[in-house]
């Protein structure tokens, strides 16, 4: 999921300096799991913003704020409260902020979180990055450990000379060297031959920003549109 943290409250207030009335938007997915944009957090924010002199016109935890359909449903339900607000504070990832903002133009939206990375929730409050969504997955080669993401230098052909005897990366002794993890896993499984050949340079041509992906036409369902369908 998208790992997020809330921006400092004072920064939020500064961004909303000229707004008297705000609507609070959250998201039922990653933002809820990261404890930044669920109902609980929106209620707490409502309290603090009210204390700071703002009027909160309403709150809505959108059913997946990065899904056009989810935004439409939430907006329909809360149209009056949204109309009454000078701006919307969005407690969701950067995609959620924009998917709301693009649909509610010219209503001002304020981002309320820092989007950190696509990550795994090891435990509540402990998140790690394992994939940088690179469009050329090499996990088959490494038996499931991503060198693009988990090696500090994104090396594809084996380690640099920087790992310590306890398998940590020279760049950050807190972090495991991805290539030592890969080496040990492949060796244990008798799969070292999988990384014996040269893996060529990554092809960046197919995924420049902004990326987009559409299902090929014949595969697109006719009646029920897939939820992932881009607008």
């Amino acid at each position: 999921m998208i790992i997020m943290k809330q921006k400092p409250f004072d920064d939020l207030l500064a961004a909303m300096e000229t707004d008297e009335k705000v609507f609070l938007a959250g998201c039922s997915e990653c933002a809820t799991a990261c404890k930044v944009g669920g109902q609980e957090e929106l209620d707490a924010l409502r309290g603090r913003l009210t204390e700071a002199g703002k009027t909160v016109t309403g709150t809505c935890v959108f059913d997946t704020a990065c899904r056009a359909g989810g935004v439409r449903e939430g907006v329909k339900e809360h149209q009056a409260e949204i109309d009454a607000a000078d701006s919307i504070l969005v407690m969701a990832c950067g995609t959620g902020v924009q998917s709301l903002g693009d649909r509610l133009d010219p209503k001002q939206v304020h981002p309320g979180t820092e989007s950190l990375f696509v990550g795994e929730v090891e435990a509540l409050g402990r998140y790690v990055e394992k994939c940088s969504v690179c469009n050329e997955c090499v996990l088959e080669m490494t038996d499931g450990i991503c060198p693009m993401t988990r090696c500090s230098k994104g090396l594809l052909n084996g380690p640099c000379g920087g790992y310590s005897a306890d398998g940590k990366c020279e760049v950050d002794p807190e972090k495991d060297c991805a290539w030592i993890l890969i080496y040990r896993r492949l060796k244990d499984r008798g799969h070292l031959d999988k990384v014996a050949g040269i893996q060529g340079p990554h092809d960046h041509s197919s995924h420049h920003h902004p990326r987009a992906y559409r299902w090929p036409k014949p595969e697109r369902p006719k009646k029920k549109r897939p939820q992932e369908e881009p607008a």
Partner: protein, 293 residues
């Protein structure tokens, strides 16, 4: 014309040196040191490129200046700061400036240096960079486009014999040589036994190895490396020799240690790469002690 290539091809024990460009335009001191202490004593001199990710004058310009003073350079090229367009372009630039020896390496992460805010590039890794140099020599670029005039390189790479576990280093070295690497300069080695184990593990890889000798300046430096530099272990006996040396004899003892290490490892490898960290004046003594002068 690479003397380094010729010496290795002829089976002569090859010694290379190393200098680092200054942070700024004041290049004369480093060049003069190289002229005074390295010229005529080593076959070629590496010029480090933004070593430890610290911004400095570039390796390429220094290499050309060395060449103009009759010193054969080894141009270090790192993957950290440039994408594949710039890397290939700089390799071609080196060739037109008369530079043939190149050392193709990944490079330290930007977080290790003085601009931790910089974007690390690593578009290619060291294996890819070697492939790129080999492709240019074959008359085309990495994308397969033809070149109007192809360069000739003597392509080097690095390995860290002291790394634990060692097998991943050997695995990667094999790929580098498969990609076209023609010589290896290793990280600092202070333990001949450990080096011998590495050489044995790499026995099936057909490439000359120049053992890396970093001049030990003090016992404190030895302790620092043991703690902080992965893959470098200074045996206690060597640290003790430095600790016992009176201050005024330190350079002498440092040269003896380096010379003894080279003598011990000479039968196992094809050359030595001397990294003096600014103490270029000890090079003649090292070579004398190693019976190479």
């Amino acid at each position: 014309m690479s003397q380094l290539r010729d010496a290795l091809a002829a089976g002569r024990f090859a010694v290379t040196g190393e200098i680092g460009p200054p942070k700024g335009t004041h290049v004369e001191p480093a060049l003069e040191e190289a002229e005074r202490h390295l010229r005529g004593r080593v076959l070629a001199v590496n010029v480090t490129e933004l070593q430890t990710a610290v911004m400095r004058t570039g390796s390429l310009a220094m290499c050309r200046l060395l060449l103009e003073r009759g010193i054969e350079p080894v141009y270090q090229v790192v993957c950290r700061d440039r994408n594949r367009l710039a890397l290939q372009s700089d390799l071609l630039s080196a060739a037109v400036l008369g530079i043939e020896n190149v050392l193709l390496i990944t490079g330290d992460h930007v977080l290790m240096g003085d601009h931790p805010q910089a974007k690390p590039v690593f578009d290619l890794d060291s294996v890819h960079l070697i492939q790129a140099a080999a492709a240019l020599e074959a008359g085309h670029d990495l994308a397969g486009n033809d070149l109007d005039g192809a360069p000739t390189f003597f392509k080097g790479c690095v390995a860290a014999p002291g790394s634990e576990p060692m097998e991943p280093q050997v695995l990667k070295l094999r790929k580098k040589v498969e990609a076209g690497a023609q010589f290896v300069q290793t990280q600092a080695v202070y333990d001949p036994e450990r080096f011998e184990a590495f050489v044995e593990a790499a026995a099936g890889i057909d490439v000359p190895i120049l053992v890396g000798i970093v001049v030990l300046k003090s016992a404190g430096m030895a302790r620092y490396m043991n703690e902080k530099v992965p893959g470098v272990q200074v045996p206690d006996a060597i640290t003790q020799r430095m600790a016992d040396a009176p201050k005024e004899d330190r350079k002498k003892v440092a040269a003896e240690i380096a010379g003894d290490l080279i003598r011990a490892m000479r039968p196992m490898c094809q050359g030595a790469h001397l990294m003096t960290l600014g103490w270029d004046d000890v090079v003649p003594d090292i070579l004398a002690r190693a019976e190479l002068a």
